[in-house]
Symmetry: C2
Subunit: 408 residues, 2 copies
């Protein structure tokens, strides 16, 4: 135990200050350590990180509330996968007690709607198979902040999304091992294991979502995220992963996975996440927010502060196709008048992942509006305009996501 730190006075000072603040009991907020990079630990204009995600990188995120935290546009890196410490948080209910990750392998999920229904522990699931899957995880309301109508809900800009690597067992292998899906089942319904608030009808608060049974083809019961056990805040010990579908369908702390004849009647399904006309409210007659569609945005240069050095720049961002892969990205330097073909950078992690794109360009001094427009492998083109809806869902407008910068 003779280990001594080497001389990094500034680093130690920061750590020490943070620790002292926390020890002083400031609101129970734990000091956040920098998981990567060494920029100043406190970003201006954001609330402090809540204790349960104190391990997030405070300089990379915007804290809207204790359960809604987004990645800063200028903090998205170019390494394809979003580091866990930068990944957004959007939890409909508080996480279960941390005791559930003290013995991760003991967590159980009930598998129903198969020939031989049964409960399976994470330990058993791990023995049944191993696959990995890179996938864009995106909140249904990502981009809501660009709706001029200011819908209620978190005003996310681009940062309620990330590209994440999951490890687990494919749902179809589990279903096969239990005799296959029972007849007549049109949906796959996942139920979250959050502790429900007392005194309320469980149906009104439980996180339970149904997706078409076809989505099971690429779905997974996952225990790892980005090469490490899934943090409690992101749904560990076990999360249902439904690639191509919005975040809410990827059930955290999944305690039940059922193949069902009908959609669940839980309120989060019947009334929540519905595409209602502006001014309206969600109800079961309206389309559900489910599959994602083609989208892209620019992350730099100039996403932090909007000023860039005039001259040669590398305009870069991310693009994804939702259920399809992304096949093409164009970039405009003048708000959409002229478009230039961007180049993809780095490895292709499969059709559910996003891809990095880059355009080398000369930016003369002055103001510029940088925009990107993606096309998926089915030929769908990212639209100029958002589709108006009361909840501020599914904003894929390239115009809304354009980045205003000043070159000097």
């Amino acid at each position: 135990m003779n280990s001594q730190p080497t001389s990094h006075p500034r680093r130690r000072l920061l750590a020490g200050s943070g620790a002292a603040l926390a020890a002083a009991g400031l609101g129970g907020l734990a000091p956040a350590a920098r998981a990567a990079g060494d920029t100043p630990a406190a970003a201006a204009g954001t609330k402090p990180l809540p204790g349960y995600v104190a391990w997030k990188d405070p300089a990379s995120v915007i804290v809207h509330s204790t359960t809604t935290i987004e990645t800063r546009r200028g903090s998205f890196g170019t390494g394809v996968l979003t580091p866990s410490e930068q990944l957004y948080i959007r939890n409909n209910l508080p996480a279960p007690d941390a005791s559930v990750v003290a013995d991760r392998d003991a967590w159980e999920v009930e598998i129903a709607g198969v020939k031989n229904p049964r409960r399976l522990s994470v330990r058993e699931l791990k023995s049944m198979g191993l696959e990995t899957l890179a996938m864009v995880l995106q909140c249904s309301g990502n981009g809501r902040g660009y709706f001029p109508s200011k819908p209620s809900g978190t005003p996310w800009q681009v940062g309620a999304a990330g590209c994440v690597m999951w490890s687990g067992v494919p749902v179809r292998w589990v279903a096969d091992a239990l005799g296959g899906v029972a007849g007549g089942m049109a949906f796959m319904t996942g139920t979250g294991g959050e502790k429900l608030p007392e005194g309320l009808d469980p149906k009104t608060v439980i996180v339970e979502r149904s997706v078409p049974v076809a989505a099971m083809a690429d779905a997974m019961l996952a225990w790892e995220m980005n090469g490490a056990p899934i943090p409690l805040a992101h749904g560990g010990p076990l999360r249902l992963i439904v690639p191509g579908y919005t975040g809410v369908n990827n059930i955290k702390y999944v305690k039940r996975l059922a193949f069902t004849a009908a959609e669940t009647d839980a309120r989060i399904m019947s009334h929540g996440y519905r595409l209602s006309p502006p001014g309206g409210k969600g109800d079961p007659s309206q389309p559900s927010v489910q599959e994602m569609s083609v989208k892209s945005w620019i992350n730099g240069p100039g996403a932090d502060g909007g000023t860039v050095k005039a001259g040669l720049v590398q305009v870069h961002g991310v693009a994804f196709g939702g259920l399809h892969g992304v096949s093409r990205v164009e970039v405009s330097l003048d708000g959409g008048k002229r478009w230039h073909e961007a180049r993809f950078v780095g490895p292709d992690l499969g059709r559910y992942a996003w891809r990095q794109f880059v355009l080398s360009a000369q930016l003369p001094p002055g103001a510029h509006v940088l925009a990107s427009r993606a096309t998926d492998s089915a030929g769908n083109v990212q639209p100029e305009q958002r589709a108006e809806n009361a909840g501020g869902y599914n904003n894929t407008s390239w115009a809304d996501h354009a980045l205003k910068v000043v070159a000097a």
Copy 2:
């Protein structure tokens, strides 16, 4: 500022205790936050994390000393990339003062041995191009701990290695922009920017390494690691990345990149990292430890503690080819008597990355010796035996890396 943490008493208690300990000034060791997972923060039998890497995951690493930290075999995930908070540390000299990462873009590197030599800032490099590269970063001495001769140096087992995504500008683009490499230059020589200890001949301590100039083809000047600015401990603001070559050739805090007619005469090159016969010492007449060769090992099940549940198991691990891609992995459940073809899992990140492999197998109760043997795309097969050498370098023996487990 009304942000309040949700109820996670255990998590908050842990954070609070750590903070209190740090505030009490226990040896300057900062509390380490968990960047992923929520298992107990202190792993048995390891020293505490030094302050400059307090953001590492203490449960995932073995701290040999303040400058030598390895990933636990059982902590390697299956998500292809190694999370930064699990990645090993091996620094020949202490890092420069953290002030160098306060303004990352201002860091400068001198480019020499080109037609038009000049200094370039990170800001300028970022304007010149963007590429990403996934690469196995491995210490030359990884596996030294399996040498029965107990060579001096850190007794690494498998964990002085990781697969890392780098973002930066290709060296060849930089050289081209400066008129190309000057005539007669046979080597690419990188110099680290560590502050050198006073009173010593710089040549005896400076981190300066030469690789054949051909290695520039895929080399990169990188500012991001795993999608975030390179942490100081890993060589940020700027690191020279030479894929396929052992860790020491990937110069941290690179301050000079020169194309040279001869290898540097710095001691770390002339006498360090040489393949000397057992009992001998390094000198310039002996082969340098440079290119990596084909290697694999099993990371589970049973890497933590050696006991597994009898029955169906998923034997998994990593395999890489060094300068070539890996094309095949076989797994043995009986110490190498019979071999079974393993399946690759997950995306292929290119020839310098490692791949995850898995074999589904039945393990009856009893003791088993699990081994893996990789073949690269050039047909090189991972050998059974290590090549003995005084420094304990380049251990690729599949027998040494076999995993003993007991199924019950």
